[in-house]
């Protein structure tokens, strides 16, 4: 059986302010889920908390990943265990090249498996990186550039997917990877994700738009509202939101009612 990410009654606060108020969601390897919801409803908070960002405090609930307690792990351990987050706002890191960074990321995996490992050889790494860049149609010069520094919005998103393609996660959360991509880039990036898709990859696509879901077809669609997942459905749910917006969700679930 493949790995699963089970989120049970997750409560998360930021600076003592409760943001997530009991999230339940299970994503299995091989499945594609979409998570939608209005601005500020807590989608990125969920993503960051899953990845172990120190600013997000889990105040209650559980996350079981591949049979183990995910919340016990540091961010780097979560990543090495096969969890990946494509950030909504990737930070830039001056002085660290994309290539150097990715090589470290690969080597950290090899070292965790085998402390004696010398890591990936330079030629092998270059070959790997080039092939991944090619299928995301990224210019090779990006490898020598400082990580995300001066990258356009779309270039940053493409670089996130490049990292995903290189690290081959089991469960990937894509937080608004479609925003900032032009029409061609959206297709290229979506195709990139589709190539990675299969029985070994579970995906959670966080998005506001149907467009990306036309390329990467989800089996499950969830709606987050005020820190909870309030609607679950199939692809038709996304189409319904595209057409009608969130008013009906608000009317149905507003805490004020």
């Amino acid at each position: 059986m493949g790995a699963a990410l089970e989120i049970r009654n997750l409560h998360v606060s930021v600076e003592d302010k409760p943001i997530l108020r009991g999230v339940n969601l299970t994503i299995k390897q091989g499945e594609v889920h979409a998570l939608m919801g209005p601005n500020g409803s807590g989608k990125s908070t969920l993503a960051n908390a899953l990845m172990g960002h120190p600013a997000y405090d889990v105040t209650a609930g559980q996350v079981i990943y591949d049979g183990q307690d995910l919340l016990e792990l540091e961010a780097d351990e979560r990543s090495r265990a096969g969890l990946f987050l494509a950030f909504q706002y990737p930070v830039s890191i001056p002085g660290v090249t994309l290539a150097n960074f990715l090589r470290q990321a690969i080597n950290s995996r090899k070292k965790a498996e085998d402390p004696e490992s010398k890591g990936i050889s330079v030629p092998e790494f270059i070959r790997l990186l080039r092939s991944k860049m090619d299928y995301l149609q990224m210019d090779h010069s990006f490898a020598g550039r400082y990580l995300n520094e001066g990258f356009s919005g779309g270039e940053k998103k493409r670089a996130e997917i490049l990292q995903m393609a290189t690290l081959e996660p089991k469960i990937a959360v894509l937080d608004e990877t479609d925003s900032g991509l032009d029409i061609d880039a959206l297709r290229i990036v979506s195709e990139g994700v589709n190539r990675l898709k299969g029985p070994d990859l579970g995906v959670l696509i966080i998005t506001h738009y149907q467009r990306i879901l036309n390329y990467i077809k989800p089996e499950f669609v969830h709606v987050m509202f005020e820190g909870q997942i309030v609607e679950n459905g199939g692809p038709e749910l996304a189409l319904q939101l595209e057409e009608h917006g969130y008013d009906w969700v608000r009317a149905k679930h507003s805490a004020a009612q």
């Binding site: 960002h53 540091e74 961010a75 930070v91 001056p94 660290v96 470290q104 990321a105 690290l167």
Partner: protein, 446 residues
């Protein structure tokens, strides 16, 4: 009963040198009359100047009263050490397999002096200063502490002029280029005083790249380095000058360093400070000729109780001159760093472009970093500005790297390395960059 606490005297104590020491050093080296006289004149000046104290503005943040002169003033004497004493990494060729020139001092004594034939044939002189005084007296006499660093620049400049122990002399004649880099190593295995000098003279349209390395072996006994560096860059000449310091942790450095840049000439100057217990360095460029261009890059990493005080000046003495300064440093533990920078222009010097930036990375709550920029501009058609920033290690950056599987210590190391990368890339020697990176990583982890 009166209990008296032992307190440091308020005024710094001067080292115990006398005029006889000046006479002795001159006699030992069998120096010509002019040199002996110039040493003695500097000594007179030295005696007249007060020791800089916390009351002196430029020294307000730099208390060096913990120096033990009884240890630090003793002149370092060579002990039969040879080239092989110097770690191999510090003396390997800077680029490729061959040395352009390699001049190695161990404990102030020349143990190796080599200059590629291509360079000798062009009339390039690259040798130690004592030899240069004998073989090229006119060249040395005209330039040694007469144009760039003057004995009157300060107490330690005067002391240096009176008592300098050794030095390097590089001379590149008009229209000649030292295509291969020149490498100087100053390596001390014994504690005490060394007063090293660097004198570079580039004539019109000459070119050179030079690296000077300073380091010493660990010692409990204190040392003092009282140095002077003089870079004379003639009209249309080009000098790239890199100096790297990694003294042991009981060394106090007091140095005066100045470059003079002629018409349409370029000075690209990189200074790195890693070692020592306390460093007070004056680093100044004088843009003397129209079209002169000076770039000053500094990097430093202070840990434990180190104190680095960099005092920089960019003096625009001619119109159409440009200067660009970038200092990047980190401090951890209880280290202290100070950068004070000044851009000056004489009146009526139009079309001047001067910039200074100081970027500081604070890696502990107990470390302290000061940056004090300054402008004194007496012309109006100028573009001069400065910037100083202070930051801590960005948790967002560390998290991003960790989110890709990189452990925290490595992630922190990468972010700090990244902070310095822009500056290290300015050093044109890959092996040297790697060596520095390793030294930096030792500081981060250690």
């Amino acid at each position: 009963m009166v209990v008296r606490s032992r307190r440091r005297s308020l005024e710094p104590i001067a080292p115990g040198y006398t005029r006889a020491d000046v006479e002795a050093i001159s006699a030992t080296n069998n120096e010509p009359q002019w040199l002996r006289e110039s040493r003695l004149a500097a000594w007179e000046l030295y005696e007249d100047l007060p020791m800089p104290s916390l009351q002196t503005e430029e020294w307000r943040r730099t208390d060096y009263r913990h120096i033990r002169w009884n240890e630090a003033e003793k002149q370092v004497r060579a002990n039969g050490a040879t080239l092989n004493t110097v770690p191999a990494a510090n003396r390997e060729p800077l680029i490729g397999e061959a040395q352009g020139g390699l001049l190695v001092f161990v404990d102030g004594k020349v143990v190796h002096n080599e200059l590629a034939q291509e360079l000798t044939q062009q009339g390039i002189v690259f040798t130690d200063l004592q030899t240069a005084c004998r073989e090229h007296p006119d060249l040395v006499r005209a330039n040694l502490m007469t144009k760039a660093v003057l004995p009157s620049d300060g107490k330690f400049a005067a002391l240096h002029a009176a008592l300098w122990t050794h030095g390097v002399f590089l001379y590149v004649p008009r229209n000649k280029a030292a295509e291969l880099p020149l490498h100087v190593v100053n390596y001390n295995t014994r504690a005490g005083a060394s007063l090293g000098h660097v004198l570079v003279v580039l004539e019109e349209n000459a070119q050179a790249t030079m690296l000077v390395d300073y380091s010493s072996t660990t010692s409990e006994t204190q040392s003092a380095y009282i140095g002077a560096t003089e870079l004379l860059v003639g009209d249309a000449a080009n000098l790239q000058y890199v100096s790297l310091q990694d003294w042991n942790r009981e060394t106090f450095e007091f140095s005066h360093q100045r470059g003079r840049i002629g018409r349409n000439a370029n000075l690209d100057w990189i200074v790195g400070n890693m070692g020592g217990r306390l460093v007070k360095a004056y680093l100044e460029i004088e843009l003397d000729g129209m079209g002169a261009n000076g770039r000053m890059s500094g990097f430093f990493f202070a840990d434990h109780d180190q104190l680095f005080d960099h005092d920089t000046q960019q003096n625009h003495n001619a119109p159409l001159t440009t200067s660009d300064l970038l200092f990047k440093g980190a401090a951890r533990d209880t280290a202290r760093t100070v950068w004070q920078g000044m851009i000056k222009s004489l009146p009526q010097m139009q079309k001047i472009d001067g910039f200074q930036a100081s970027r500081n990375l604070l890696l502990s709550e107990d470390a302290r970093m000061d940056a004090i920029p300054g402008l004194e501009i007496e012309a109006d058609d100028v573009a001069c500005s400065h910037a100083a920033t202070f930051g801590t290690l960005e948790e967002e950056s560390v998290f991003y790297l960790m989110a890709r599987g990189i452990d925290r210590p490595t992630a922190e190391l990468m972010v700090i390395d990244g902070f310095f990368d822009e500056l290290l890339q300015r050093i044109p020697f890959e092996r040297v960059r790697e060596r520095l990176q390793a030294a930096m990583e030792n500081k981060i982890i250690g």
